[in-house]
């Protein structure tokens, strides 16, 4: 018994040490975000001698934080909503009508998952300017829709297969239109996989850098958080007092959302990954 107890405590110690190690970067960022640059240079590890909250006020203005946060929420929200709706419809149709054309289309969606973004981005820049999709909200929305579909259609497709078709047939007998069947019966049943689709796409779009830089980079009114932080770092190199306050601010919204929804997020991710 003593041996197993010893083992238990060594496991606990090991896990706690690893957890501290994982959290330590956040400590450094937080603590130094309220120091003066001079104090950071002398000692980056201890708690601040003087708390300099003005770092936050300054960066708040410089990166226009409220505006940038709003843009991130808007772009992520609109894109994720679009992806969910469009790929749920597509996945449903692809399962229920497996014609040759639809099977081919499904294969295209799946195969495209392997294409790296870099192999598309240069031509995409050109095409989006031709179609006047560059520099506006519609453009970035269509881009995310296009890139997000592959994985999402795949996930919905897998899930719809497990929805019994008999329910739909019963509804049709009762006089429901095909659109009503999807909207009133199937769509609500897709909820579990919808959570996964929302989480995976939401995290990706929220943190994405290269696509927004290429598609809306020129339009300062649509700047998202990653873009604003990068621009800020370009101008204020080595101004760590301001930079760390800016980083804390930028990291805070997504961390808050994660901590509130952590159970759903972790479940959503594990069920999404093991479907393939």
């Amino acid at each position: 018994m003593a041996a197993s107890r010893f083992r238990h405590y060594s496991v606990v110690t090991l896990v706690l040490l690893l957890a501290l190690l994982f959290l330590s970067p956040f400590y450094f960022v937080l603590v130094n975000s309220v120091k003066s640059l001079g104090e950071i240079m002398v000692d980056a590890a201890s708690l601040p001698k003087i708390y300099l909250w003005t770092n936050y006020n300054e960066v708040w203005e410089i990166i226009r934080f409220p505006k940038v946060l709003f843009n991130s929420i808007l772009i992520t929200g609109v894109s994720v909503a679009g992806i969910v709706l469009v790929s749920a419809m597509a996945g449903y149709r692809l399962v229920r009508r497996p014609t040759t054309f639809n099977k081919l289309l499904f294969t295209c969606f799946i195969a495209a998952m392997i294409i790296p973004f870099q192999s598309i981005m240069l031509q995409l820049v050109r095409i989006t300017s031709l179609l006047e999709l560059r520099g506006n909200l519609l453009g970035i929305f269509v881009c995310y829709l296009g890139f997000g579909l592959s994985l999402s259609v795949f996930l919905f497709h897998g899930f719809v297969k497990s929805v019994p078709v008999e329910i739909e047939e019963a509804a049709v007998v009762d006089g429901c239109t095909p659109y009503g069947v999807f909207w009133k019966i199937v769509f609500p049943l897709l909820r579990p996989i919808m959570v996964t689709v929302i989480i995976l796409n939401g995290l990706w779009i929220w943190n994405d850098y290269l696509l927004p830089v290429l598609v809306i980079g020129a339009n300062k009114d649509l700047t998202t958080i990653p873009l604003a932080v990068t621009r800020f770092f370009g101008q204020y190199t080595k101004q760590w007092d301001l930079a760390l306050a800016g980083l804390t601010m930028s990291v805070a919204p997504i961390l808050a959302v994660f901590l509130m929804l952590q159970r759903h997020i972790l479940e959503g991710i594990s069920s999404g990954s093991l479907k393939g």
Partner: protein, 295 residues
């Protein structure tokens, strides 16, 4: 009557699949196919019509006269190899630890997953600070030589810096997948093995590992493709430096097109990149799929 039914089917096909097919075509399919054409042109990115057909020029140039591309290729291969092992070993270890009956298990899982919700761009900037200022202070306090290295200042420390951050970011994600799989391993199998006198490590390697092979396939696939395609972290942590010594393939393509303005050459590289990604991903899935067994 027949035609009316048919046209109704057409309308449904259009409503359900139309938007997706259109978005997918103009954003993914058409640009991708165009890539094959632009790989053989000289193009400055501004005007599609001004792309000049130059035949095999770009390809020849990449294969005979582009050391940086091949350095980036080698760097990416080394980076992928090291991070696949490190991420999966750490992720699996964490999963083993956190499937034991521990108090606060869920809170701990949350902590290990935390870095993953932040994007590569922000993480890169955060760690730039840790490596340059934080490590310096720790070095002064503890006197440990590892913290006194010129972190990110040499090709070597740059490489390991990227590895550390990448592993820190992705290990938690793999942990979640491994946990889901380990929980699914039937308890009676583990008990039977213990009764038959198997040690802890024997039952892990002979029972758990073979049974969670599907999860291992997924995790290896995810780490391979993420590591091979790394861009954000590279961009914000080292900017490919010092010099171009820590430039990943994705970064090299970006720089060729958007900094040097050689879009044609950039596209050619990007298409080679696509083939490399496909070959690696397919081989890796094929290798691990063969090892999957059923309980």
């Amino acid at each position: 009557m027949h035609t009316r039914k048919q046209s109704r089917q057409w309308l449904q096909q259009l409503v359900f699949l139309g938007p997706g097919t259109i978005a997918f075509s103009i954003i993914v399919l058409i640009p991708f196919l165009l890539g094959f054409y632009y790989s053989f042109t000289e193009w400055n990115g501004l005007d599609l019509d001004k792309a000049k057909w130059t035949g095999m020029n770009n390809i020849t140039r990449i294969f005979t006269n582009d050391d940086k591309f091949w350095t980036a290729f080698g760097f990416t291969l080394r980076f992928t190899f090291v991070t696949i092992i490190a991420t999966n070993v750490l992720g699996f270890l964490l999963a083993l630890l956190l499937t034991r009956p521990l108090k606060g298990r869920n809170a701990l899982r949350t902590i290990f997953f935390l870095p993953n919700v932040l994007g590569g761009i922000l993480l890169g900037y955060i760690w730039q600070f840790i490596f340059t200022k934080g490590f310096k202070t720790i070095g002064e306090l503890t006197g440990w030589p590892i913290f006194e290295l010129p972190w990110l200042g040499t090709p070597h420390t740059g490489f390991w810096g990227l590895v550390i951050v990448f592993v820190w970011q992705t290990a938690g994600y793999m942990m979640i997948i491994y946990i889901a799989a380990i929980v699914g391993v039937p308890k009676d199998l583990m008990e039977a093995a213990t009764i038959d006198g198997a040690t802890y490590w024997q039952s892990i390697s002979k029972i758990t590992a073979p049974l969670i092979m599907p999860a291992i396939t997924v995790c290896l696939f995810l780490t391979t493709s993420n590591a091979f395609k790394m861009f954000d972290l590279n961009f914000s942590l080292t900017k490919g430096g010092p010099g171009t010594s820590t430039q990943s393939l994705a970064y090299n393509i970006y720089a060729e097109a958007l900094i040097n303005n050689r879009y044609g050459l950039g596209t050619a590289k990007a298409m080679l990149f696509f083939f490399a990604v496909s070959i690696i991903a397919v081989t890796q899935v094929w290798l691990t799929k063969r090892k999957e067994v059923e309980a």
